[in-house]
Symmetry: C2
Subunit: 494 residues, 2 copies
């Protein structure tokens, strides 16, 4: 703040009274947004470039008031949002916000500490280790993944980051064994055609090209789970060709249709060929806190790492991805840096964790606060209840779809994602009909859903689980789909 | 939501009234924290493992109240923080929080949209393009970096991410030209010994090993800037050896001592050898909105990309890194994915940006809101004033140091980072003496500073610019240093 320049209107940068007043104004604004959220078209109706017509081309010279800014948020930003917090949002996977998650975000942002190593804010590192163990125990992970056992975990921002980091760890471990970085062209990564595309993107990022990325085809016969036999055949062919199996990704709850790979069988194969086995449980991992879903993780003891996103289905505002590892050493070997500028006694004592060595970036936010508050404000009971009530709604929706003869459930539901389609009458594969149905529903503004193609079939995905969704929204959603289907079919007949 | 389970106490997940009440309680908590922030020891005094003794080993079964949680934040978390928002924080580089940045974070977290592609929330993408142009214009970047010109930009979370992504783009472009991924072992990355360690880490991540990472030595004679002559010599040697120059990182405001590399000269060499030239302006880039610092960016027209972190010195709460590129195509070529599940008309029309193809992760937060509000609430004038007043305080501090004969300024100050040391009397290089001084100040709890080693000299870094720092804090900080120096020197004499 230093010297005074009288010619400009100075703005208090971080005065606690002004902070409190203005923050409460924004809280009221957000609360009002939640109160009215059903009034907005779920998928935004703006056209590309709409915002540049509303906002100036350059930054303002002088300060503007919060009132002016919030007016612009209301008039220019909100119409351009696709409302992920709408109870009528059924697209992709939900981004499950909650009051608890928001409170944690506020504390994280307000304290604004940067916990790259232990000493830069010990509580940030230590709370993260504690909360990773809490989560791990709720999921009944083996102690080999917990700090209280022989493993450990970290909060990344996304599954992509978790996959990039574990891939890099696996690569560097393998290259050391093979005796040179030029062997990178021998390393092969395995996934299924249902695996999230982030795995191929991550593999490319760390230097494994498309030609060394094996995509195992899945089918209706195994409800799109990765077949251990097919995996083994692919590995054997690669080994015969002189290649080296590096990394296998298994998924619990795939993006397209919620399929679950056979973790134990895959894990055994990975172990046999000395590959790194990662489990991507981004979406459905959260459900595994319920005893009835935990069996999907059976065999996790054969994995090297597992990740899940509390920002999807665990009431945690963006962003938050849990990654647990059995041998954290390999991650640190690959990602650690030794910089004089960060040298300190605690790190040199090797009695602390420096999370900068477990992730891509140096900087990091105090995300653990958010997950910690989500867990404490709800408790295990309410978290289980939350998962089950979403699944109950999905069952309810599934039943309604299944009992309407015009529709069919394409892939059996496992969690709260329902994949269905309008059965084709006049057309061979039904994709055009269902594309039209999708667009009719989405452009109505009353709900937003998305699609996938599984086994060459175009299916509509209804991911149930936005925080504010209640039975009545699911009922209205179904009525809307029926109504649009009716119109489409009558048009088809004409 | 869904069916009723009467045996548990249900917690409202996102009820707007409860949201408002509890959020305001947390706002009061944070405001109170700011009010009292000077009372905490700046660097935490806890011992490794302190928190596991205070918190339970497992998640609670039932819900806990916000009051209980905030009590634990006060009693268990706050003592474990190193307080980056303290006006007496002078370590590393500051993480410049502000009310405006916090308001933006709240909106981002409250709306909780996931703008991976345009349609998933058009406003998130469009505001980001607008705000990147606003920032670029404030910095007087050539139009070749702006959307309104022929380039464009994105908000990443950290410089590391910006470097990883641009390195990957450069690598893939080069490998295509060389005709095969096995040529990766020929690619060479250039930096100086002052370049942030993230560049070497990022190079390793994308598959460029240490043996192909050239570290050009700098020295006092050039105030630690990268010498174009030495760079050219290193490149020539590599080219002779059959290697291929890939990527050069120049820095405006190095971490150790705030050095500035000669951007124009480096850029010309990079162009001559067809290398990707990235400018890391993480810290000092923000200062370049002031006409007096803009010359440090002269030659930016020769760069392929430039990044700076508003979360350091631009009043933007963590995390936020601006990355501009001249040819965004190369980034997209390297990072884009084509997934059926995200297919939509807007993307297929190629009239929109899908930022998922410009970054590592799929998911992304609406960070543009935060930077937009920071810019609007302050306006260019106050932002310039903010930078200048920090520099004024640094000058004031530098003068006090320079006029005390026991001390010396080791590297000439360019921005608001002062590198100094207590001149050694009894010892040859003074490192032990200055280490002791550093620890004496830091363990007092009254201020926190950090160190670097430049040209083999151990120097103390005083990074002035925490948002709440005023002249009086700088004065007290200097008195504290003098006081500890006095004690140390009297001990040395005994």
């Amino acid at each position: 703040m230093g010297s005074d320049h009288l010619f400009i209107k100075t703005v208090p940068l971080l005065d606690y009274k002004n902070f409190s007043d203005e923050s409460k104004t924004v809280i009221d604004f957000i609360a009002e947004y939640y109160r009215n959220i059903e009034k907005y078209p779920v998928r935004s109706r703006v056209q590309p470039g709409y915002l540049s017509e509303k906002l100036p081309e350059s930054a303002p010279f002088g300060p503007e008031s919060l009132e002016e800014i919030l007016k612009d948020v209301s008039e220019s930003i909100l119409p351009g949002l696709t409302h992920w917090q709408s109870p009528n949002f059924f697209a992709y996977f939900q981004a499950n916000a909650s009051t608890a998650g928001f409170l944690g975000e506020m504390l994280c942002s307000g304290l604004n500490v940067v916990g790259f190593n232990w000493i830069s804010s010990p509580a940030a590192t230590e709370l993260e280790t504690i909360v990773m163990d809490w989560m791990g125990k709720m999921l009944k992970l083996p102690s080999s993944f917990l700090f209280s056992g022989t493993g450990g975990g970290i909060l990344h921002g996304s599954t992509c980051e978790a996959v990039v980091c574990t891939l890099a760890a696996a690569r560097d471990k393998a290259l050391e064994k093979l005796g040179g970085s030029e062997n990178i062209t021998k390393l092969v990564v395995y996934a299924s055609d249902q695996t999230h595309f982030t795995v191929e993107k991550s593999a490319k990022l760390i230097g494994i090209t498309k030609s060394n990325f094996r995509v195992i085809t899945t089918s209706f016969s195994t409800t799109f789970s990765l077949s251990p036999e097919n995996l083994r055949a692919a590995i054997e062919a690669d080994v015969k060709a002189g290649l080296v199996p590096l990394y296998l990704c298994g998924t619990v709850g795939t993006t397209a249709c919620g399929a679950v790979d056979p973790i134990k069988e895959l894990g055994k194969i990975a172990r046999e060929y000395e590959m790194w086995f990662h489990i991507d449980a981004a979406y459905a991992g959260s459900a595994c806190i319920c005893p009835e879903y935990r069996p999907y993780l059976d065999g996790v003891e054969f994995a090297d790492s597992i990740s899940l996103n509390p920002h999807k289905w665990f009431l945690t505002n963006m962003d938050c991805c849990c990654l647990w590892l059995k041998q954290t050493k390999f991650l640190v070997d690959s990602l650690s840096t030794d910089s004089e500028i960060l040298r300190n006694k605690a790190s040199e004592s090797h009695s602390v964790i420096d999370y900068k060595d477990w992730q891509i970036a140096l900087s990091r936010r105090f995300k653990a606060l958010k997950l910690w508050i989500v867990i404490r404000k709800h408790g295990l009971t309410n978290l289980i209840y939350h998962i089950r009530s979403d699944v109950d709604m999905a069952k309810r929706f599934e039943t309604m779809v299944a009992t309407d003869r015009r529709f069919e459930i394409v892939v059996p539901r496992k969690f709260a994602l329902v994949c269905f389609r309008l059965k084709p009458v006049l057309e061979s594969d039904g994709s055009e009909l269902n594309r039209k149905l999708l667009e009719a529903v989405n452009s109505s503004g009353r709900a937003f859903m998305s699609h996938a193609v599984v086994g060459s079939l175009f299916v509509i995905r209804a991911a149930i689980g936005a925080t504010l969704t209640e039975d009545r929204h699911v009922d209205d959603f179904w009525k809307l789909i029926q109504e649009k289907a009716q119109i489409l079919q009558s048009q088809d007949v004409n």
